[in-house]
Symmetry: C2
Subunit: 170 residues, 2 copies
C-alpha cells in the first residue's frame, strides 16, 4: 500500500504482485478534507480513511512518501502531520513501513528522478495496464509509491538472499 | 492539558483551575524517544503516552503548540508529525483542541512574547507555586501552554458571556 500524504488530498494506492511479474492495481482512492475544518478534524478523517483500508486489505507493507522541510512551506506542515498519521496507523498494526523520497519513486517508475507528474502518471498506467493515467496526481503518486516499494523491496530481498546463500557456502 | 510536541522530547503538562483563581499543577511529564528507532515507532510511543494521560486524567481541553514551517528545519518534520499525533489523539475523544503559538504562550505567562526559556520556566514556577522551574524546558513549555489555554479560554468565555448578556439587554 502506498500513501501520498497530504491534508487536502491524501492518495492511497494498493498494488499486488512481486518483482519480475506483472503488477496489478487492487484499489486507489484520494481522501479529501476541507480547509474549512480544523486541522485536527481533517487529520482524524485521514486516519479513518487509512485505517479503513488497512482493515479491509491487510497490506503486507506500507510505503509513505518521505517529506522534506525544504518542500513548499505553505502545505508542508499538513503534509508532515498527515505522514505521521499514516505511519502510526501502519506501525500500530506492526506493518513494515518504508519511506521513499519523491525522486526515488520517480526514478523507480520512470527511470528518471526528475520525471514530471504526467510522466509518472503515464508510467503508472503502463505498469499496471490501465487504460488512462490515474487522476488526480495524488492517486498516481500513491500507486507509484506502492510499485516502488515492491520493486525496491524485491531487489533488497534478493540481495539479502544472495548474501545469506554466500554465507552458507563459505 | 498542554502538549509541547516533539519527536525526541514531547512535553505534557496538566493544570487545573479557572481564571482569577490560583492554578494547580496536576502532573507533568516528558515523553522521550530515541533517534535510533524508526520514526513510526517513535510516533507510536508518543501516541501511547498521550493516550495514557487522556485516559487517566480526562482533561477538559488540549492545547498544542502551533508549529511553523520557519522553525528549525532539522527537527521541524518530527515536531509537525508529533503535533498531528497529539491533535488526533484529542480529536478522536471529541476534546476541544486549541493551538497557541510560542509567542502567545510566552506573552500569556510572562507578559512578553520574546521571553526566553528561563523566564518562561520561572513564571510557570511562580504561577503554579512550584519551588523550582520545571525541567527540562519541554515540561515548562507544556505547563505554560496549559496555563495559557486556561487564561485565554477564560477571557474568551467572559467575552462570550458579556456579548450574550448585552444581546439579552438589547
Amino acid at each position: 500500500m502506498g500513501i501520498d500524504p497530504g491534508l487536502t488530498r491524501c492518495g492511497m494506492g494498493l498494488v499486488e504482485g512481486t518483482v519480475g511479474r506483472p503488477l496489478t492495481l487492487v484499489d486507489v482512492n484520494v481522501l479529501r478534507t476541507s480547509a474549512d475544518q480544523p486541522v485536527a478534524t481533517r487529520l482524524v478523517t485521514i486516519e479513518r480513511g487509512i485505517n479503513a483500508w488497512l482493515e479491509e486489505y491487510h497490506p503486507d507493507a506500507v510505503a509513505v512518501e518521505r517529506v522534506f522541510a525544504r518542500s513548499d512551506s505553505s502545505t508542508i506542515m499538513g503534509t508532515a502531520q498527515a505522514s505521521g498519521i499514516a505511519m502510526v496507523a501502519a506501525a500500530r498494526r506492526g506493518l513494515p513501513i518504508a519511506l521513499h523520497t519523491p525522486s526515488e519513486v520517480k526514478a523507480a517508475v520512470s527511470g528518471s528522478g526528475r520525471a514530471d507528474k504526467a510522466q509518472v502518471g503515464a508510467m503508472v498506467a503502463r505498469i499496471l495496464r490501465l487504460p488512462t493515467p490515474p487522476k488526480p496526481a495524488d492517486a498516481a503518486d500513491a500507486l507509484a509509491l506502492a510499485i516502488t516499494h515492491i520493486w525496491r523491496g524485491g531487489a533488497q530481498a534478493r540481495l539479502d538472499a544472495a548474501v545469506a546463500a554466500a554465507g552458507r557456502k563459505s
